[in-house]
Symmetry: C2
Subunit: 154 residues, 2 copies
């Protein structure tokens, strides 16, 4: 594709700096949403039913890690107006603690690396660490991810 | 929790071996499902609208990587009857190519490492590589993930 159209309201590689941080809004996860997500993508008893979940590793209803990941993505997309969109190539994903019904999630985004492309002068890559916490300040997910960035058009 | 109840139909650490592979069923991803998922978790134009998506890095409608991840999880859960459930702690996630409308996804699971716990004799950890391919045999996702395993009760 060609570069995204110049847009003063969007963030290009040139607008970011290593060490910069962003904080997202919050999202409260309801028990019904945990079960609906699980029924579609992760149908295991500890994500589907409070009582059944008592007899599991989690000891009670827990959200699928992929649900935590989806909520985090939404919070990031709503917060970080990257030119060309928020497009990740992949990275290191960890779930140190489960997300529970009623938890309120919020993420921070830290810019770790910024690398202009040598072969494609209009592009670059960034590495960011996205840390998702609940209302008790426990980390429920970390994602150190490579993201596509564009250079600000001249 | 206590160990899962002994169940001859479930897989314990003792039933697995390094190098073992499993192949999941298949799942066809429809354009409507791509848009519904995106509206909830990844509301960006290249996941929401065919026409708008033409003017993006993807050059056409593409599924959110998190949607590919969710479908993969479902395929894995339906295939791998781990005692205690399929519970991942995290790992390295990559999306080498986007998932497109109408793609048919299938995953393979490869057992890479098996490590009984030294401190908890009833438990262990495994490392598996889950590779998701489309009907053209292109890899759309890899996830090298640490999973919780249980020892077969005596």
């Amino acid at each position: 594709m060609t570069s995204p159209v110049a847009d003063a309201n969007k963030l290009y590689l040139d607008d970011l700096s290593v060490g910069q941080t962003f904080t997202t809004g919050t999202h409260r996860i309801e028990p019904g949403a945990i079960k609906d997500f699980a029924a579609e993508f992760d149908p295991q008893w500890f994500h589907l039913d409070e009582d059944d979940a008592k007899d599991s590793f989690f000891g009670g209803l827990a959200a699928s890690g992929w649900h935590t990941a989806g909520i985090t993505m939404r919070l990031v997309v709503e917060t970080l107006p990257l030119a060309g969109g928020v497009i990740g190539a992949g990275g290191e994903l960890q779930w140190p603690a489960p997300t529970r019904p009623g938890d309120i999630l919020q993420a921070t985004i830290e810019v770790l690396e910024l690398t202009p492309s040598k072969s494609r002068p209009e592009r670059g890559m960034g590495v960011v660490r996205i840390t998702t916490r609940n209302q008790r300040d426990e980390v429920v997910q970390t994602f150190r991810v490579k993201v596509l960035l564009w250079r600000r058009p001249a």
